[in-house]
Symmetry: C2
Subunit: 361 residues, 2 copies
């Protein structure tokens, strides 16, 4: 009721209370998270399989002491990640999702007005984080066949994001190429965002610590089936990690998230089995989409980008939605749909919907 009285002038007055660049921005729009469980959800790259059963047991045990603050330095998770990835525990940061780690990197390294560079198109959150910071996004178009663009080597930015494998293209840049790039850019922090890397055949772990300006980001949201728990990891040199820790909220990872992450990281076989199943389904999905007339680049992730060059697929996304199948459409990539690799049954439902709409081999 009180709102009804003030709603007419409130947006303006509230905008005047925050910084002008915040008032001017639209805000990030995450993919839809429907409450309706009957929908086939292939829009936000979740793993269709459950996490390790050890996660639930660990979370239940962590419920014993919820009145106490968590370990502010997440020592057990960091030690476990260090052993698993062959890096120094002092170079590991744990975040409330890798999104928080991306935000910490921007706030630590980039002054308002300065630039952040990245190949484009890529994970759209980078644009939002740059906008929040009042910084400048220097987007450099991917080279032929999604090669790392040469122009990035000269970009006047102290922070460079490389989403690898990239979203939404699903493509990957070789570790050798990343290493050569990072050596040329010793003046900058080079972030290799490996959110999807467990679905690929390579990764950049060999660079961690050896090149002090490289940060490898991992998340438990995709391969470990824990998007709902919010845990990400940054792997870098101890010196850079010590700086980033200053900007992190001291209690940023809950007791529950620390316990669940530890259990998930310790159960590699469950994660590997689910990744292998996703890769098998991914191969089939690609074949079927090509048969139905889509162009699909080989994917190194748990999604594929299905293109109909020169067509606008917004209507197709709507038609799929009417058939209770959610996929992701980006206005910046109008001739493509990004489709998460779900269970075989979910992919069959998606393909059936396409045929129902009129696609045929």
């Amino acid at each position: 009721m009180a709102q009804a009285q003030t709603s007419k002038d409130e947006p303006d007055s509230a905008a005047g209370l925050v910084l002008p660049h915040i008032a001017a921005m639209a805000g990030y729009v995450p993919g839809e998270q429907p409450a309706d469980g009957a929908i086939v959800k292939l829009n936000t790259n979740e793993n269709p399989y459950p996490p390790s059963p050890a996660v639930r047991a660990a979370i239940e045990a962590a419920c014993e002491n919820l009145e106490l603050y968590p370990d502010p330095s997440a020592r057990e998770v960091r030690a476990c990640a260090a052993e698993l990835y062959g890096v120094d525990a002092d170079g590991v940061l744990v975040g409330n999702g890798s999104d928080e780690l991306l935000s910490i990197l921007v706030r630590s390294i980039v002054a308002p007005g300065a630039a952040v560079a990245y190949p484009s198109p890529t994970y759209s959150l980078y644009d939002t984080l740059v906008e929040i910071r009042g910084a400048r996004a220097q987007r450099v178009a991917w080279g032929p066949d999604h090669a790392l663009p040469v122009e990035l080597e000269a970009a006047p930015a102290r922070l460079i994001f490389i989403c690898n494998p990239n979203a939404p293209s699903g493509t990957i840049v070789s570790t050798d190429r990343i290493e050569a790039f990072a050596r040329k850019r010793e003046d900058a922090v080079v972030v290799v965002d490996e959110a999807y890397v467990d679905f690929a055949d390579q990764n950049a772990l060999s660079l961690v610590g050896r090149l002090p300006n490289v940060v490898v980001l991992r998340t438990l949201s995709k391969s470990y089936s824990l998007a709902g728990l919010r845990v990400g990891l940054a792997l870098t040199s101890p010196g850079l990690a010590a700086q980033l820790h200053k900007v992190r909220d001291s209690y940023n990872v809950s007791r529950i998230a620390q316990a669940g992450a530890l259990a998930a990281l310790r159960d590699q076989p469950t994660m590997r089995a689910h990744v292998e199943q996703v890769r098998r389904t991914r191969a089939r999905l690609r074949d079927e989409l090509e048969t139905l007339g889509f162009e699909v680049a080989p994917s190194h992730t748990n999604f594929v980008l299905a293109r109909r060059p020169e067509e606008n697929l917004a209507g197709l996304a709507t038609a799929l939605r009417e058939r209770r199948v959610l996929v992701r459409y980006f206005t910046a990539l109008p001739d493509a749909l990004r489709v998460t690799v779900g269970t075989d049954a979910a992919i069959d439902a998606f393909l059936d919907a396409l045929r129902d709409i009129g696609f045929s081999s």
Copy 2:
């Protein structure tokens, strides 16, 4: 091993990769979180009683869908908080602890180089957040009897923090005084940080929405016994909330945290019973400390500040630690110790340790 080779020059080179003001800062030092369960822990103002039993059940249920992202807008928690506190759900933000909400406020409202004002001494995290932002802290000494200082009314700052009840003094400013202040400062966002307010006899909820520049912060860490879960709430006008949402990570509150918070907020009787027990123990603790020669202002929180004017109590904190009792000593307040109101047994152990050290009535 790799670190041993680079450790000599790495701190310098890493410092050169981040912003100069980040490299120069020391970082926030949270209170010690000992792994040793045998210690009497009265140093970080945790509630000694467990959360509502409904929290565990809700968390277990939320384990069913951890592979899916959480609701990015935390609708259920916001609706529940809105009903409980009598505010508009569109004016509610849910944070990964109220620490995250404080950080969002700073990043939304304060440009680097600009000022944030607050009475001092107060919650030391404010200093850290200002430092991370490269902003200026304008600390205004509390008035006589911890009155809100008149000088704050003229402080050239767009963001003003009032920790109320205040830490570490335990004192409170009346809602009428806060309202008059916020009306004079319509140019600024006035944040009333009510982390401890459930242990007091008043709060500033009546200002939410009515004064569009007021933000009331709540946490589930203290009265709801959920420091380990990381959930905070910001209650403000819908217009200002819409701006702050832009700066929030879209998936900042996990499925587990949303489910646990909802269960805790819905069980008011458990929270109230534990708060009443803490208040009874607090009264006894104050009496006993005064008998032992300490000055203790009436506390409106779940801790007391015990003073020996003109003495330095660092040695006393150490002597207590040797007797397995942790309390909080601040170098900025050398003649005081902050003591959390634990269980009656924990407080007896603390008082016994004081007597063992030589204090007597």
